[in-house]
Symmetry: C2
Subunit: 477 residues, 2 copies
Amino acid sequence: MAKEKPSIPKGTRDFGPEEVAKRKYILNTIEKVFIKYGFMPIETPTMENLSTLTGKYGDEGDKLLFKILDNGDIFKEIKEKNAEQKISNFEFRISDISGKGLRYDLTVPFARYVVMNRNEITFPFKRYQMQPVWRADRPQKGRYREFWQCDADVVGSDSLLHELDLINIYSEVFKCLGIEVEIKINNRKILAGIAEGLGAENKLMDFTVSLDKIDKIGIDGVEKELREKGFDENQIQMVRDILFTEKNSVNYSDNTIKSNLSLSHLSMLKNSSKFRDNEKFKKGIDEIETVLENLNSTNKTVNIKLDISLARGLSYYTGCIFEVAAIEGSLRSSIGGGGRYDNLTGIFGLEGVSGVGISFGLDRIYDVIEELKLFPETLSQGSSKVLICANDSIENIELAPVLQLLSKLRNEGIASEIYTEKINVKKPLEKPIKYASSKKIAYALIYSENEPLKLKNLETGFQVELTIEAIVEKLIS
Amino acid sequence: MAKEKPSIPKGTRDFGPEEVAKRKYILNTIEKVFIKYGFMPIETPTMENLSTLTGKYGDEGDKLLFKILDNGDIFKEIKEKNAEQKISNFEFRISDISGKGLRYDLTVPFARYVVMNRNEITFPFKRYQMQPVWRADRPQKGRYREFWQCDADVVGSDSLLHELDLINIYSEVFKCLGIEVEIKINNRKILAGIAEGLGAENKLMDFTVSLDKIDKIGIDGVEKELREKGFDENQIQMVRDILFTEKNSVNYSDNTIKSNLSLSHLSMLKNSSKFRDNEKFKKGIDEIETVLENLNSTNKTVNIKLDISLARGLSYYTGCIFEVAAIEGSLRSSIGGGGRYDNLTGIFGLEGVSGVGISFGLDRIYDVIEELKLFPETLSQGSSKVLICANDSIENIELAPVLQLLSKLRNEGIASEIYTEKINVKKPLEKPIKYASSKKIAYALIYSENEPLKLKNLETGFQVELTIEAIVEKLIS
């Protein structure tokens, strides 16, 4: 076989023992909170039929799907199809050679799962799911082609108590991880109400898509886009007014400034905004008010802000929407987001099931914790606690007593192993200790025929003579 | 958007809460043992470059690789390539449209990882890896297109102590899971020695491939294949003799009977077999003898059998090979296997690194445990412990006190939730209890304004009046 210099596809990563341990720490933290809030796990396949995925994430999303080549003789199939359709030249469509794609997010597969299992599921159905997803995006800092999402969703309930739970989950998870975050909240009904109030209800998507970019292109960029999309100056002034209700708090010339309205502005929006008479606008404001009132009666420590410019790209949201960003560190993009969607399962034929959910981005959370040095120092990497070393190479000594020591340790649940390689008999511990140090093994158990056992603490270098029973007792406690 | 009846690709599966809990139970059991034996976790990407995967699993394996369509305009690229090569018709090779494939096993990605990280790794490197793999095989009972492998490998050590550890890992994991198994052991050097002894060293692969099928086609089938491959009657008789050294123990007419030679036959093979003077044959026998002697000095409970017909298809094995099958239940195929490969990393340019490893097949182990009803009854599905129910629909009551109860439970780590849906006020517990029962929630906490709290054990139906403090105390302990 030819020798190749191996590599991995761009945007993907290997994870060594330390990274696996850190990722597990985050996953376990999130999972514990999900469980505490009554969510139950499901898992869906890596591959979905393209008919399940296509058209669910917009044109841009369709382009970013990883598609899997059909197995079998694709050329024969193309030729047969061409012959059937009397095409003389060699032509094919992607759908002729690919019927499956990699999971793009966890929400659409979940909707598919709910529809397929509708008769077995008791609603409201609260599920969590922690699995990788794949997008053929251009890789860059904080953006990978294979990355993990951790989602919690509730379907089959209109109750705003679920929005409350999801905000509390965000708050609790990031508190456990030690990351200070800001949760932004908005409501798609508010945006729909604004579009109606502008007399532009048919341009709601245009409006939302532009608004969504305010972080990147600033208010001036948004205005420019709206102008290009046919909004007139009067409409644009109304957008500017609603985004910057409290004019003193924002700097009009600074495109990076966001319209973070404090919660106290809710009633002002409700009572004195130009859109206050629009039903959708009012409903959106009311929903947020209910959520925040309930939040206020139990958890006053959540850092939550109303942000009327928050839109979230995906078109399936219809109610409250959330986005979470870390306050410290260099990562500006969100580390979580979600919202309510009134008819997600409708695309698969099950109408009238409302859902609401949130997602955690494992990889970005990892990057934030790493940058802020917030990982606990004692994370287990699954390493041995004891390395058994002999005063001669293992092949030269009688093995049975050494193997019995090993069995005794492992039988007590103490992770341990024997140093199996040749050693320098003049410096018998040199190689084993180098090995132990690379694996962060805490103790060396030194065996010599007809001598007492020695236990060496590899951090302090301190060494004692002990029986195997005493060693077990010491290491278990 | 059109309404489709959703489905999932054949050979793939969704897992609901109960299945996820059961799968986690198996994964956790295996992982704990891996850690106890000093193995550390790594994870590799789902996608590998096709150059990494192709040619590593034989022609049959290449056909079973799931290939990923390149992103971008594949038609434009094909046309450009055709123009470049002055091909007038529309032609392409798979490699023109696909550069990546899904992971086919964990061993080749591990070899790639070792080569890419050779400078950071301290050898011997003991890693475990538990991830899904994909094969475009025809789905059938016990065979899926997406399934999980749990591998433990050691690279960079020739010591047979690792073979011993791996056998003990098999033994311990299946003991923990309650599955009685038989571990078969053989050595590729024995097979190579036999081929040499037959004067057929150039037909070693042919010989191994046929031998590997003995389970399916029986000794007569093997003989037929060998005859077709040009082995003469004398050679075939020698094969029959070595496979059935103890003739009385086998039934020649029964094609399903295997050549399970007991361990005591090792020395007979060594001393009186026709192949006893072949160096490879002797080396193979010696290696197994060493492993079994060491095993005998520490763990006499392992059910291990020498099986000279065990070949294991993959061509990279060079030393001891293992295969594990459940003794009870209807699944006849193996639930684990592995062996020593002397030069796996050589295919990626790193020569002289010996490795040995084993694999557990999660999905088949699951099927065995399910069939034999060996799953513990108390597996947590991540469900709530308490469902808070009000005597009126949640939208009609003052929420703050209910939310505070919920906070108190969760703050103590008690998984809990509120019943959020409309209820029948005449039978206020009917719907909540149906919900709780579907989620196996143990308790209902019944809240009525101005009344004492009631805690109802949903299994016994027993109900008591308690303060929230007493409830917390009861549920924590």
